[in-house]
Symmetry: C2
Subunit: 393 residues, 2 copies
């Protein structure tokens, strides 16, 4: 090509390429219904409904599927947009899409809402939990809903992929609570999971994290509107719920990023001196945002999510080491170096146990200033690691 | 000395030395009354009472005094025992005493309770705050008590040392909230403070820490028994208060130590699967201990302490740099490397500003597995640093 032609090509294709890069991958939320599901605790739930979505195409052999499992405050929306007008794409759009680390030109990537999703009033969430109508009574379950575990989340997803005719997953990839589901998948269905990616994750809950989670449950139970879990049709416990959401946000963010985003208080604020009840700039920043999100959440759902996380130990055996014994998948652990919530030692522990059992496991720390949220917002810095891992035999 | 003599000396003195080392330094709690005190916010409080205690002797020149300022959940009891039968000595007994880093053979070491001390029902605490009787009404102040700042704590301590005839402090030394008082002393009374030691401290609150403190206040306000601060003579908000104390304990302890001390949960606990309301071993460990301490605390006092900490910026000027300009004292900052609450960057910030202003400042990180509490429990690993700093000109 001569220079003039090259230039012409550049002028011609460059804008097209740019439009193409900015054009969102459009996705559709779907519903999966399971007529009956019996929990790990032995209780049967009728008409379990969960939402799901997918990016890319399932191949004929149905062996190119990657399952994405979501974090505590998340849902199935991992990538793309439901409509071109959506302000933001799904949370891992930086790594899921055509030509990206999780390449939708190669893989059929699917993602589902969990049971007891924390935000059942989000119009894009489909879940079953305490706020759902119990078909037996025509009323919301409330605390009659059985306690569910991470393994129950996984079992329901298993029913979904079975219905889709998928017998083997190329990989299960999840961040935070999603990482618990990912490792549980590898432990519960060892023949069906080829690769497991645990981002900002753990193999089991330690005492410190069980306590940290308890701090998320208590404000809800302290709110008199919670009323022992029986508030449907009445005023929900939005004060307690807001406090819970504020605490989750804070624990997920390192001071480095929080102090960049939140208003600083260089000078002593006069309002703060007038009454201990007056808000301060930083507390308003955190709690006002939490309050806005609280109406989409359900307090009981949050309690059930907390409990599912608190009870987590991959494989449900006597010890974590026992629980990991069945795993056949190759593993990749990607904790965030500055994570203050699920610190890297938790991923290290599971990684080391797998290595001791002679299994293939890799470990890479994500760098960033977000803390726990580096697992979402800085994941693209390790896109190459992830891509290579998914392409490896 | 011949060998036989040496041996004799050893046999003779060793037990005496050992008894001497184990023999507690006995101390007496005293009361200081200030007939009137006007706060930074311009409100006057009548009959301010605070407790204090001292170790060692004030010399004739009255220039050998070291003031110890206490942390959020603490009180004046920094060293020694009130009675030989006390199970534990004061919190910094490892570094305060005859021949120790803060040598009571040389220094007159005094320590006072702050205003609005969090545990006014502890029989060893003397403080003035919302739970105190307002002499004007004969009723507890409740939320009529004026907001107080760390500078107010310092001003009341200043009145105490003035009454004792002390014009210059050899040093002010404090951990955590005590470090805020120490640096405020150096900024507010620059001619009267020769050395300032900030252990697990900060020069000002950043947005992240202001939010973290807010999480301590909210559970109290969520408890219906709090009743807008008006619960004296009725049921106090012990549920909310317990949650607050549990959260403080957790944030002050690194997972490394918490996971050694708290019960682990290797196997999924059956009770946790029965109901989301059932406690788990780790949550009982944390919350049962907090509940036991809650009856000694006062919920409103905790709210006032939270607010005093949230408003903190040393020197009360337009910026922290401005607030530090007056400081003449030599400074020593000792953050704890694994602190998850007041992380070392906060001490670094104040230390760097002082250096930029051409002042003498040292910086040493305390190693340990306790996290924030390394400032109390691992301080003796830096006893030599502290001793040298106190002896330096």
């Amino acid at each position: 090509m001569k220079m003039a032609q090259k230039l012409f090509a550049l002028v011609l294709f460059c804008p097209i390429f740019m439009v193409s890069a900015n054009e969102p991958m459009l996705v559709e939320k779907q519903e999966f219904v399971l007529p009956n599901y019996t929990t790990v605790g032995g209780e049967t739930i009728a008409e379990v409904r969960i939402g799901w979505e997918a990016y890319g195409e399932l191949n004929e052999a149905k062996d190119n599927a990657i399952l994405i499992t979501h974090f505590f405050s998340g849902n199935s929306h991992a990538a793309g947009k439901y409509s071109a007008a959506d302000p933001l794409p799904g949370y891992w759009d930086s790594i899921i899409g055509p030509g990206k680390a999780i390449d939708t030109n190669k893989y059929f990537v699917l993602s589902s809402d969990t049971l007891v999703n924390g935000f059942p009033h989000d119009p894009n969430v489909i879940t079953t939990g305490p706020a759902s109508i119990n078909p037996a009574t025509g009323e919301p379950y409330g605390l009659d809903f059985p306690v569910v575990t991470i393994k129950d989340f996984v079992n329901v997803q298993h029913a979904l992929i079975t219905e889709l005719g998928i017998e083997k997953l190329h990989a299960v990839v999840g961040a935070s609570m999603g990482s618990l589901q990912a490792i549980e998948w590898a432990a519960s269905y060892p023949n069906q999971v080829e690769r497991m990616v645990s981002v900002i994750g753990a193999g089991a809950m330690d005492a410190w994290t069980i306590m940290a989670l308890e701090h998320w449950a208590r404000p809800i139970k302290l709110d008199p509107n919670w009323n022992g879990g029986d508030y449907y049709g009445a005023q929900p416990p939005l004060e307690g719920l807001s406090h819970t959401l504020a605490m989750i946000t804070q624990q997920a963010m390192h001071p480095k990023i929080m102090n960049i985003r939140a208003p600083q208080q260089e000078t002593l604020p006069a309002a703060g001196l007038e009454s201990v009840l007056n808000p301060l700039p930083a507390t308003s920043y955190l709690f006002d945002a939490a309050k806005m999100r609280a109406s989409l959440a359900d307090a009981n759902h949050i309690l059930y999510l907390v409990r599912a996380n608190q009870l987590f130990i991959a494989g449900h055996q006597q010890t974590l080491a026992d629980g990991l014994k069945n795993i056949q998948a190759k593993s990749l652990f990607m904790p965030a170096k500055n994570d203050l919530l699920l610190q890297p030692y938790l991923a290290q522990q599971a990684h080391q146990l797998l290595l001791e059992q002679g299994k293939q496991s890799e470990y890479v720390e994500i760098e960033g200033i977000w803390g726990h949220l580096d697992g979402l917002f800085s994941i693209s810095t390790e896109a190459e690691t992830l891509k290579n891992f998914l392409e490896s035999e």
